[in-house]
């Protein structure tokens, strides 16, 4: 009886450990798969508002993403100008301007070549300055 109890307890412990490990693995998969914001670009983590970024990429799977850090973007007029400039490019599938973080997210079609000089020029044409561009999916 005692041996049966010990064996049963051992089986339950092993089963629960296995379940926990499986759950942990699932958690890891949730954390790292499909969450582009955790990718590194040139050895640097993406500097983005995680929730905003995940929401941005959710409906453009497979597209390349450019995260542009912009100086001087303090009001809606700046944001509208940027949206208008990039909106003319038919290779850009989605645009998001985040005034709070000073970031512009650009979704490019998967076959598009991302020209960083072009991005910087559009920002400059709006009277603003680019300090960094991080590209995912290139």
């Amino acid at each position: 009886m005692k041996t049966t109890l010990i064996l049963g307890a051992t089986l339950i412990f092993l089963a629960s450990t296995s379940q926990a490990q499986h759950h942990h693995n699932m958690h890891d998969m949730h954390s790292h798969e499909g969450h582009m914001h955790e990718q590194m670009v040139d050895g640097k983590a993406l500097e983005v508002d995680v929730e905003r970024f995940d929401n941005f990429v959710s409906d453009i799977p497979g597209d390349k993403i450019a995260v542009v850090s912009v100086q001087g973007m303090v009001c809606d007029f700046c944001a509208r100008g940027i949206e208008k400039s990039f909106g003319k490019n038919n290779q850009i599938s989605k645009i998001d301007v985040d005034l709070a973080s000073g970031k512009v997210l650009l979704g490019f079609q998967s076959d598009a070549e991302i020209d960083q000089a072009y991005i910087e020029k559009q920002i400059l044409n709006n009277g603003l300055n680019t300090t960094a561009i991080q590209v995912l999916g290139d």
Partner: protein, 176 residues
């Protein structure tokens, strides 16, 4: 960039409608039409605005502009001046100094404006600014100071100030 801006002003001195086109960030060209309430004259002017200086940082933008205009029918009607601002998403500081001549009088006017945004909206939200403007010109030796409410959404801006002596000061702007 290539953008159009339509503005309307109304204060104790004049009612104005002003349109300008901005081919690039350095300058804009436009036309205004104004009805002067002091002389009851109406006239149109060509206007030129030049960006002398801009400094962008991660959280702010600072600008200095040269502004000028000349009457289309009578070049005696003209003005020139400087205007500047420094702005973050939370704070605004602006000034202007302008010399106006023609239509029977000369006028030098200085303004200074301080503003604070009580909340920080995201792009596309309604933005609200609570401001204080102070104005001094040749008509009155005393400085006039009054509260201004600025509402700003998308390409539209409405600014309303009130002082018991100078009455309403209204500014509408739409960018497209």
């Amino acid at each position: 960039m290539g953008g159009h801006t339509l503005m309307a002003y109304s204060n104790a001195q004049a009612d104005k409608i002003y349109w300008h086109y901005t081919p690039n960030i350095k300058y804009s060209l436009g036309i205004d039409y104004q009805e002067d309430k002091i002389t009851e004259q109406s006239f149109a002017s060509a206007r030129f605005t030049y960006l002398l200086h801009r400094k962008n940082t991660a959280t702010s933008q600072r600008n200095l502009y040269l502004k000028s205009g000349v009457g289309l029918n009578d070049s005696d009607n003209h003005f020139y001046g400087l205007a500047g601002d420094w702005e973050t998403r939370r704070l605004f500081v602006g000034f202007s100094a302008q010399q106006q001549s023609g239509q029977g009088y000369d006028l030098f006017e200085q303004t200074f404006k301080l503003g604070v945004a009580p909340y920080l909206g995201d792009y596309g939200d309604l933005h609200t600014w609570l401001m204080i403007e102070t104005k001094k010109n040749d008509f009155d030796d005393r400085r006039t100071t009054y509260p201004v409410l600025r509402l700003f959404k998308g390409g539209a801006l409405v600014e309303i100030g009130y002082h018991k002596k100078t009455d309403w000061d209204v500014h509408l702007m739409y960018r497209f």
